[in-house]
Amino acid sequence: MNRLKAILTALGHGITERLWRLGFAARFFFLLLVHSGQTFSRPRLLLREIWFSGVLSLVIILVSGLFVGLVLGLQGYETLQRYGSSEALGILVALSLVRELGPVVAALLFASRAGSAVTAEIGLMKATEQLKAMDMMAVNPIARVVAPRFWGGVISMPLLAALFSAVGVFGGYLIGVVFIGVDEGSFWSQMQASVDFRTDIMNGIIKSFVFGIAVALIAVFEGYDSIPTAEGVSRAITRTVVTSALAILALDFVLTSFMFRGL
């Protein structure tokens, strides 16, 4: 009986703890939006964060995108040529990149490259009392530190996803057309005939935008909410990467089921 009571108490405690955290995150998001004005009235703050999350992620995004495109080209050709339709390689590479792999893989890389860095930065600023010092200097840390990092991530993410897809298509072209020798004209024309701007490319951009909001919010929240010790910050970084990955994949499923239903 006592054991059962203990289990129920632990369960209830776990649930209330999580609900409380969720509520805190929602309130944090609201505050973040309220205090976003400064981010856009002082573009220098925003530029610095786009540099940190966008420009510094360029190398990993470009290299990964190229390799994913190369692999798609090889695997796709291998399968398609069995059915004698190797010209459809362009469609396969472009659709899988634009619809799924571009937004999802770029967001996963972005979470581990830029998201973790943002969490670490904010967490360390909290651990060394920099946020409290800022608050005592009558400067709101959410407006000055958190909001620019959030918007920097939100702006960088769709651009990085587009770059990933573009480089991936180029990788598929390299393998398919340059190395294997699929006809160049049919590679591009079949691709263009089947990839629709509105249903495929726009939806991909919308996805990457939503992922950008999710990853940036998780990263700044975990940093701001971290326990201000070395161990606390390192756990917050881990949580950023894990939670972001789960959020990206779950959101991807939800968005895909809305976007491509019945098409």
Binding site: L47, W51, S156, L159, A166, Q192, D196, F197
Partner: protein, 158 residues
């Protein structure tokens, strides 16, 4: 970090990001290939549209002239009514016929327009086009073939 260096890199990043969006839209997607500015609507009735989809192509002599804008079912005639947006540059005679065709053996389906010979009047949206050929349904084709085979007299033995 020097200010101008930072500005340069952020500017470069945003520029190549937008360039790759344009690449996706124009080179990978179909935004550049067919985007008619002005269109008129044609409606046609089909017995069976097979796998035709909204935004499918409308082609004449292999050239894209329009897109399917909606597909409805008419409960009175039990036919499918397909609306198409056709570029105003292209006009077809009244006795043109529309058929649902497939690109390649397993490709997607589109509407093909075979121009007629009536040079007095052109098709416009005022009436339903009824000179149509339905999609070829593979199952029907196969069963037809089997029936014909069965109906044939057995080949005389040598």
């Amino acid at each position: 970090m020097n200010r101008t260096v930072l500005d340069f890199w952020v500017g470069l990043f945003v520029a190549i990001g937008i360039a790759s969006l344009l690449f996706l839209a124009l080179k990978v997607g179909n935004l550049g290939s067919f985007s008619p500015s002005q269109t008129y609507v044609l409606k046609a009735a089909f017995d069976n549209i097979g796998g035709l989809k909204v935004r499918g192509a409308v082609k004449s002599a292999g050239v894209v002239v329009g897109r399917v804008s909606s597909i409805e079912f008419d409960p009175k005639t039990y036919e499918a009514v397909v609306s198409m947006e056709i570029d105003t540059h292209y006009r077809f005679p009244r006795d043109s016929s529309l058929s649902i065709l497939t690109s390649g053996l397993l490709g997607e389906q589109y509407i093909g327009v075979d121009a007629g010979i009536d040079d007095q009047q052109n098709l416009d949206g005022s009436q339903l086009v009824t000179r149509t050929n339905s999609a070829v349904v593979l199952e029907k084709l196969i069963s037809q073939f089997l029936f014909d085979k069965a109906a044939e007299p057995p080949a005389p033995k040598p």
